[in-house]
Protein backbone atom coordinates (compact mmCIF):
# COMPACT_ATOMS: atom_id res chain seq x y z
CA UNK A 1 0.00 0.00 0.00
CA UNK A 2 3.07 2.25 0.09
CA UNK A 3 2.37 3.52 -3.44
CA UNK A 4 -0.81 5.16 -2.14
CA UNK A 5 1.39 7.26 0.19
CA UNK A 6 -0.71 6.66 3.29
CA UNK A 7 -0.21 8.78 6.37
CA UNK A 8 -1.49 8.13 9.89
CA UNK A 9 -3.99 11.04 9.88
CA UNK A 10 -5.60 10.00 6.57
CA UNK A 11 -5.72 6.35 7.71
CA UNK A 12 -7.45 7.36 10.93
CA UNK A 13 -9.80 9.66 8.99
CA UNK A 14 -10.97 6.95 6.59
CA UNK A 15 -11.16 4.34 9.34
CA UNK A 16 -13.44 6.63 11.36
CA UNK A 17 -15.67 7.27 8.33
CA UNK A 18 -15.87 3.53 7.63
CA UNK A 19 -16.72 2.76 11.27
CA UNK A 20 -19.38 5.51 11.28
CA UNK A 21 -20.94 4.11 8.11
CA UNK A 22 -20.95 0.60 9.60
CA UNK A 23 -22.55 1.94 12.80
CA UNK A 24 -25.21 3.82 10.82
CA UNK A 25 -26.01 0.62 8.90
CA UNK A 26 -26.31 -1.43 12.08
CA UNK A 27 -28.45 1.26 13.73
CA UNK A 28 -30.74 1.29 10.69
CA UNK A 29 -31.11 -2.50 10.82
CA UNK A 30 -31.82 -2.51 14.55
CA UNK A 31 -34.28 0.39 14.47
CA UNK A 32 -35.21 1.78 11.02
CA UNK A 33 -35.25 5.56 10.70
CA UNK A 34 -38.42 7.62 10.63
CA UNK A 35 -38.40 10.73 8.44
CA UNK A 36 -39.09 13.79 10.54
CA UNK A 37 -38.71 17.56 10.60
CA UNK A 38 -36.35 19.26 13.02
CA UNK A 39 -34.76 22.71 12.88
CA UNK A 40 -33.57 22.10 9.31
CA UNK A 41 -35.93 23.54 6.66
CA UNK A 42 -36.50 20.08 5.15
CA UNK A 43 -37.69 16.83 6.66
CA UNK A 44 -34.81 14.40 6.90
CA UNK A 45 -34.01 10.80 7.69
CA UNK A 46 -31.14 9.81 9.94
CA UNK A 47 -28.93 9.15 6.91
CA UNK A 48 -29.75 12.59 5.44
CA UNK A 49 -28.68 14.26 8.67
CA UNK A 50 -25.51 12.16 8.75
CA UNK A 51 -24.64 13.29 5.22
CA UNK A 52 -25.46 16.94 5.97
CA UNK A 53 -23.36 16.67 9.13
CA UNK A 54 -20.31 15.27 7.31
CA UNK A 55 -20.56 17.77 4.46
CA UNK A 56 -20.98 20.79 6.74
CA UNK A 57 -18.11 19.51 8.89
CA UNK A 58 -15.89 19.50 5.81
CA UNK A 59 -16.81 23.14 5.21
CA UNK A 60 -16.23 24.05 8.87
CA UNK A 61 -12.73 22.58 8.56
CA UNK A 62 -12.04 24.42 5.31
CA UNK A 63 -13.15 27.77 6.76
CA UNK A 64 -11.12 27.33 9.93
CA UNK A 65 -8.02 26.16 8.05
CA UNK A 66 -8.27 28.71 5.27
CA UNK A 67 -9.48 31.89 6.87
CA UNK A 68 -8.74 31.81 10.61
CA UNK A 69 -5.56 31.32 12.64
CA UNK A 70 -7.41 28.82 14.88
CA UNK A 71 -6.25 25.24 15.38
CA UNK A 72 -7.77 22.46 13.29
CA UNK A 73 -8.59 20.59 16.50
CA UNK A 74 -11.02 23.37 17.34
CA UNK A 75 -12.70 22.78 13.98
CA UNK A 76 -12.85 19.06 14.73
CA UNK A 77 -14.39 19.68 18.16
CA UNK A 78 -16.92 22.15 16.75
CA UNK A 79 -17.82 19.68 13.97
CA UNK A 80 -18.41 16.82 16.40
CA UNK A 81 -20.67 19.01 18.56
CA UNK A 82 -22.47 20.30 15.44
CA UNK A 83 -23.00 16.76 14.12
CA UNK A 84 -24.42 15.59 17.43
CA UNK A 85 -26.83 18.57 17.53
CA UNK A 86 -27.78 17.85 13.93
CA UNK A 87 -28.40 14.15 14.53
CA UNK A 88 -30.52 14.82 17.62
CA UNK A 89 -32.51 17.96 16.72
CA UNK A 90 -31.90 18.48 12.99
Amino acid sequence: MEWMVWTTPTTVFFAVIAVLLACMTTWELVSPTIERKGFLPISTTRGDRFFIGLLSSAYIHLIVVGFTPLSIWLALGASVVWCLILMRWG
Binding site: M4, V5, I42, F51, V65, F67
Partner: protein
Amino acid sequence: MNKVYNNRAWWLILPMLLLVAFSAIIPLMTVVNYSVQDVFDAHTRFFTGTEWFSEMLNNPELQSALLRQFAFSLTVLAIEVPLGIGIALIMPKKGWQASAVLILVTMPLLIPWNVVGSIWQIFTRGDIGLMGWSLRELGYGYNITSSPVDAWATIILMDVWHWTPLIALLCYSGLRSIPDAYYQAARIDRASKWSVFRYIQLPKLTNVLVIGVLLRFMHSFMIYAEPFVLTGGGPGSSTTFLSQSLTTMAIGQQDLGPSAAFSLIYFLIILLVTWVFYTAIMNMQKDNNKEA
Protein backbone atom coordinates in the same frame (compact mmCIF):
# COMPACT_ATOMS: atom_id res chain seq x y z
CA MET B 1 -50.23 -5.12 -2.88
CA ASN B 2 -47.93 -6.69 -0.34
CA LYS B 3 -44.44 -5.37 -0.69
CA VAL B 4 -41.76 -7.69 0.62
CA TYR B 5 -38.82 -5.99 2.29
CA ASN B 6 -35.72 -8.10 2.19
CA ASN B 7 -32.47 -6.34 2.91
CA ARG B 8 -30.42 -9.25 1.65
CA ALA B 9 -31.01 -7.85 -1.83
CA TRP B 10 -28.35 -5.26 -0.96
CA TRP B 11 -25.70 -7.95 -1.43
CA LEU B 12 -26.52 -7.83 -5.15
CA ILE B 13 -24.83 -4.43 -5.44
CA LEU B 14 -21.58 -5.85 -4.08
CA PRO B 15 -19.92 -6.37 -7.51
CA MET B 16 -20.81 -2.80 -8.48
CA LEU B 17 -19.45 -1.54 -5.16
CA LEU B 18 -16.15 -3.34 -5.71
CA LEU B 19 -15.86 -1.89 -9.20
CA VAL B 20 -16.62 1.63 -7.97
CA ALA B 21 -14.17 1.19 -5.12
CA PHE B 22 -11.46 0.26 -7.59
CA SER B 23 -12.22 3.01 -10.09
CA ALA B 24 -13.39 5.88 -7.89
CA ILE B 25 -13.31 5.49 -4.11
CA ILE B 26 -9.73 4.27 -3.68
CA PRO B 27 -8.29 6.82 -6.17
CA LEU B 28 -10.17 9.52 -4.25
CA MET B 29 -8.58 8.28 -1.03
CA THR B 30 -5.19 8.54 -2.71
CA VAL B 31 -5.93 12.15 -3.57
CA VAL B 32 -6.66 12.80 0.10
CA ASN B 33 -3.30 11.24 0.95
CA TYR B 34 -1.52 13.50 -1.51
CA SER B 35 -3.30 16.60 -0.24
CA VAL B 36 -1.61 16.45 3.17
CA GLN B 37 1.90 15.77 1.91
CA ASP B 38 4.62 17.20 -0.26
CA VAL B 39 5.52 14.31 -2.53
CA PHE B 40 8.73 14.55 -4.53
CA ASP B 41 9.20 10.99 -5.75
CA ALA B 42 8.36 7.44 -4.72
CA HIS B 43 10.60 7.62 -1.64
CA THR B 44 10.76 11.29 -0.69
CA ARG B 45 7.71 12.84 0.92
CA PHE B 46 6.99 15.21 3.76
CA PHE B 47 3.89 15.57 5.85
CA THR B 48 2.52 19.10 5.53
CA GLY B 49 -0.85 18.78 7.28
CA THR B 50 -3.33 21.45 6.31
CA GLU B 51 -0.81 23.82 4.74
CA TRP B 52 -1.90 23.16 1.12
CA PHE B 53 -5.52 23.69 1.97
CA SER B 54 -4.99 27.12 3.51
CA GLU B 55 -2.66 28.06 0.65
CA MET B 56 -5.20 27.04 -1.99
CA LEU B 57 -8.13 28.74 -0.26
CA ASN B 58 -6.17 32.00 -0.12
CA ASN B 59 -4.81 31.82 -3.65
CA PRO B 60 -6.28 34.86 -5.47
CA GLU B 61 -5.97 33.21 -8.89
CA LEU B 62 -8.01 30.24 -7.80
CA GLN B 63 -10.55 32.44 -6.04
CA SER B 64 -11.20 34.40 -9.21
CA ALA B 65 -11.27 31.17 -11.28
CA LEU B 66 -13.93 29.91 -8.89
CA LEU B 67 -16.03 33.08 -9.29
CA ARG B 68 -15.70 32.89 -13.07
CA GLN B 69 -16.71 29.26 -12.91
CA PHE B 70 -19.90 30.04 -11.00
CA ALA B 71 -20.69 32.95 -13.30
CA PHE B 72 -20.24 30.68 -16.30
CA SER B 73 -22.29 27.77 -14.95
CA LEU B 74 -25.17 29.98 -13.83
CA THR B 75 -25.21 31.87 -17.13
CA VAL B 76 -25.35 28.75 -19.27
CA LEU B 77 -28.02 27.21 -17.04
CA ALA B 78 -30.11 30.39 -17.20
CA ILE B 79 -29.95 30.35 -20.99
CA GLU B 80 -30.03 26.64 -21.77
CA VAL B 81 -32.89 25.51 -19.55
CA PRO B 82 -35.58 27.95 -20.79
CA LEU B 83 -34.29 27.68 -24.35
CA GLY B 84 -34.29 23.87 -24.19
CA ILE B 85 -37.86 23.81 -22.89
CA GLY B 86 -38.91 26.23 -25.62
CA ILE B 87 -37.31 24.15 -28.36
CA ALA B 88 -38.91 20.97 -27.00
CA LEU B 89 -42.33 22.67 -27.05
CA ILE B 90 -42.11 23.65 -30.70
CA MET B 91 -40.54 20.42 -31.97
CA PRO B 92 -42.93 18.52 -34.27
CA LYS B 93 -44.59 15.58 -32.56
CA LYS B 94 -45.12 13.05 -35.33
CA GLY B 95 -44.33 12.12 -38.88
CA TRP B 96 -41.07 12.43 -40.77
CA GLN B 97 -40.62 16.00 -39.51
CA ALA B 98 -40.30 14.69 -35.94
CA SER B 99 -37.47 12.30 -36.89
CA ALA B 100 -35.73 14.90 -39.04
CA VAL B 101 -35.82 17.55 -36.31
CA LEU B 102 -34.68 15.04 -33.69
CA ILE B 103 -31.62 14.16 -35.77
CA LEU B 104 -30.82 17.80 -36.44
CA VAL B 105 -31.17 18.73 -32.77
CA THR B 106 -29.05 15.80 -31.60
CA MET B 107 -26.19 16.56 -33.96
CA PRO B 108 -24.15 18.91 -31.70
CA LEU B 109 -24.28 16.37 -28.86
CA LEU B 110 -22.37 13.85 -30.97
CA ILE B 111 -19.36 16.09 -31.44
CA PRO B 112 -16.46 15.62 -29.00
CA TRP B 113 -15.55 18.57 -26.78
CA ASN B 114 -12.20 19.39 -28.29
CA VAL B 115 -13.66 19.20 -31.79
CA VAL B 116 -16.37 21.65 -30.73
CA GLY B 117 -13.57 23.91 -29.53
CA SER B 118 -11.73 23.61 -32.84
CA ILE B 119 -14.88 24.21 -34.89
CA TRP B 120 -15.59 27.41 -32.98
CA GLN B 121 -11.97 28.44 -33.02
CA ILE B 122 -12.02 28.42 -36.81
CA PHE B 123 -15.59 29.75 -36.99
CA THR B 124 -14.65 32.85 -34.99
CA ARG B 125 -11.36 33.69 -36.70
CA GLY B 126 -11.39 37.08 -38.33
CA ASP B 127 -9.58 36.03 -41.51
CA ILE B 128 -11.07 32.65 -42.45
CA GLY B 129 -13.94 32.09 -39.98
CA LEU B 130 -17.47 32.73 -41.15
CA MET B 131 -18.71 34.33 -37.94
CA GLY B 132 -15.53 36.29 -37.23
CA TRP B 133 -15.33 37.53 -40.80
CA SER B 134 -19.04 38.49 -40.96
CA LEU B 135 -18.94 40.39 -37.68
CA ARG B 136 -15.89 42.31 -38.85
CA GLU B 137 -17.50 43.11 -42.19
CA LEU B 138 -20.50 44.41 -40.27
CA GLY B 139 -18.17 46.85 -38.54
CA TYR B 140 -17.76 45.22 -35.12
CA GLY B 141 -14.15 44.75 -34.09
CA TYR B 142 -14.72 41.17 -32.95
CA ASN B 143 -11.62 39.52 -31.52
CA ILE B 144 -11.63 36.73 -28.94
CA THR B 145 -7.90 36.87 -28.39
CA SER B 146 -7.90 40.45 -27.17
CA SER B 147 -11.38 41.23 -25.87
CA PRO B 148 -12.56 39.39 -22.73
CA VAL B 149 -16.18 40.29 -23.53
CA ASP B 150 -15.96 38.69 -26.97
CA ALA B 151 -14.24 35.65 -25.51
CA TRP B 152 -16.92 35.22 -22.84
CA ALA B 153 -19.80 35.70 -25.23
CA THR B 154 -18.28 33.19 -27.65
CA ILE B 155 -17.70 30.55 -24.99
CA ILE B 156 -21.24 30.91 -23.70
CA LEU B 157 -22.62 30.79 -27.24
CA MET B 158 -20.54 27.69 -27.90
CA ASP B 159 -21.80 25.95 -24.77
CA VAL B 160 -25.40 26.89 -25.56
CA TRP B 161 -24.96 25.52 -29.08
CA HIS B 162 -23.39 22.32 -27.79
CA TRP B 163 -25.61 21.52 -24.82
CA THR B 164 -29.07 23.09 -25.22
CA PRO B 165 -30.01 20.00 -27.32
CA LEU B 166 -29.54 17.83 -24.24
CA ILE B 167 -32.16 19.83 -22.30
CA ALA B 168 -34.39 19.94 -25.39
CA LEU B 169 -34.20 16.16 -25.86
CA LEU B 170 -34.88 15.44 -22.20
CA CYS B 171 -37.87 17.80 -22.22
CA TYR B 172 -39.10 16.38 -25.51
CA SER B 173 -39.17 12.87 -24.07
CA GLY B 174 -40.83 14.25 -20.92
CA LEU B 175 -43.51 15.97 -23.00
CA ARG B 176 -44.14 12.81 -25.03
CA SER B 177 -44.91 10.88 -21.84
CA ILE B 178 -47.87 13.12 -20.93
CA PRO B 179 -51.11 11.20 -21.67
CA ASP B 180 -53.48 12.80 -24.14
CA ALA B 181 -56.24 12.79 -21.52
CA TYR B 182 -54.57 15.74 -19.78
CA TYR B 183 -54.74 17.84 -22.93
CA GLN B 184 -58.33 16.81 -23.58
CA ALA B 185 -59.29 17.85 -20.05
CA ALA B 186 -57.51 21.16 -20.62
CA ARG B 187 -59.42 21.72 -23.86
CA ILE B 188 -62.73 21.02 -22.11
CA ASP B 189 -61.75 23.61 -19.49
CA ARG B 190 -60.74 25.98 -22.29
CA ALA B 191 -57.35 26.34 -20.64
CA SER B 192 -55.05 28.85 -22.26
CA LYS B 193 -51.73 27.76 -23.76
CA TRP B 194 -49.97 29.30 -20.78
CA SER B 195 -52.04 27.40 -18.20
CA VAL B 196 -51.52 24.18 -20.11
CA PHE B 197 -47.80 24.83 -19.89
CA ARG B 198 -47.85 25.99 -16.28
CA TYR B 199 -50.16 23.34 -14.80
CA ILE B 200 -49.67 20.30 -17.05
CA GLN B 201 -46.44 20.38 -18.98
CA LEU B 202 -44.09 22.04 -16.51
CA PRO B 203 -45.04 19.83 -13.51
CA LYS B 204 -44.67 16.74 -15.71
CA LEU B 205 -41.26 17.98 -16.80
CA THR B 206 -39.90 18.37 -13.26
CA ASN B 207 -38.21 14.97 -13.21
CA VAL B 208 -36.37 15.36 -16.49
CA LEU B 209 -35.49 18.94 -15.62
CA VAL B 210 -33.88 17.80 -12.37
CA ILE B 211 -31.67 15.46 -14.36
CA GLY B 212 -31.06 18.11 -17.01
CA VAL B 213 -30.10 20.85 -14.57
CA LEU B 214 -27.86 18.53 -12.57
CA LEU B 215 -26.09 17.17 -15.64
CA ARG B 216 -25.66 20.62 -17.14
CA PHE B 217 -24.39 22.07 -13.87
CA MET B 218 -21.85 19.31 -13.37
CA HIS B 219 -20.75 19.39 -17.00
CA SER B 220 -20.38 23.15 -17.14
CA PHE B 221 -18.68 23.28 -13.76
CA MET B 222 -16.05 20.84 -15.00
CA ILE B 223 -15.73 22.36 -18.48
CA TYR B 224 -12.20 22.05 -19.79
CA ALA B 225 -11.53 21.17 -23.43
CA GLU B 226 -13.83 23.68 -25.15
CA PRO B 227 -12.51 26.95 -23.67
CA PHE B 228 -9.01 25.50 -23.61
CA VAL B 229 -9.06 24.95 -27.36
CA LEU B 230 -11.04 28.11 -28.16
CA THR B 231 -9.27 30.74 -26.05
CA GLY B 232 -6.63 28.87 -24.06
CA GLY B 233 -8.02 30.60 -20.99
CA GLY B 234 -7.29 34.06 -22.33
CA PRO B 235 -7.19 36.94 -22.96
CA GLY B 236 -5.09 37.13 -19.82
CA SER B 237 -6.89 34.74 -17.53
CA SER B 238 -10.39 36.04 -18.24
CA THR B 239 -11.71 32.65 -19.39
CA THR B 240 -9.54 30.38 -17.26
CA PHE B 241 -11.95 28.10 -15.46
CA LEU B 242 -11.29 25.89 -12.45
CA SER B 243 -10.37 22.70 -14.26
CA GLN B 244 -7.84 24.53 -16.38
CA SER B 245 -6.15 26.11 -13.36
CA LEU B 246 -6.11 22.66 -11.79
CA THR B 247 -4.57 20.99 -14.83
CA THR B 248 -1.90 23.64 -15.13
CA MET B 249 -1.00 23.06 -11.51
CA ALA B 250 -1.17 19.25 -11.48
CA ILE B 251 0.23 18.35 -14.90
CA GLY B 252 2.12 21.49 -15.92
CA GLN B 253 3.89 22.19 -12.66
CA GLN B 254 3.65 18.70 -11.06
CA ASP B 255 2.52 20.27 -7.77
CA LEU B 256 0.73 17.15 -6.58
CA GLY B 257 0.08 18.26 -3.01
CA PRO B 258 -1.53 21.65 -3.73
CA SER B 259 -3.50 20.33 -6.69
CA ALA B 260 -4.80 17.42 -4.59
CA ALA B 261 -5.97 19.88 -1.93
CA PHE B 262 -7.52 22.02 -4.62
CA SER B 263 -9.25 18.99 -6.20
CA LEU B 264 -10.84 18.14 -2.88
CA ILE B 265 -12.13 21.69 -2.43
CA TYR B 266 -13.47 21.54 -6.02
CA PHE B 267 -15.12 18.20 -5.24
CA LEU B 268 -16.73 19.53 -2.05
CA ILE B 269 -18.18 22.52 -3.93
CA ILE B 270 -19.70 20.28 -6.62
CA LEU B 271 -21.02 17.93 -3.95
CA LEU B 272 -22.68 20.78 -2.05
CA VAL B 273 -24.24 22.46 -5.07
CA THR B 274 -25.60 19.23 -6.57
CA TRP B 275 -26.98 18.19 -3.19
CA VAL B 276 -28.71 21.55 -2.74
CA PHE B 277 -30.20 21.39 -6.26
CA TYR B 278 -31.36 17.85 -5.77
CA THR B 279 -32.89 18.42 -2.34
CA ALA B 280 -34.59 21.67 -3.39
CA ILE B 281 -36.21 20.13 -6.44
CA MET B 282 -37.19 16.91 -4.68
CA ASN B 283 -38.84 18.94 -1.91
CA MET B 284 -40.68 21.10 -4.41
CA GLN B 285 -42.10 17.89 -5.81
CA LYS B 286 -43.15 16.65 -2.38
CA ASP B 287 -45.00 19.90 -1.74
CA ASN B 288 -46.68 19.62 -5.14
CA ASN B 289 -47.82 16.10 -4.36
CA LYS B 290 -49.27 17.24 -1.05
CA GLU B 291 -51.26 19.99 -2.77
CA ALA B 292 -52.55 17.63 -5.44
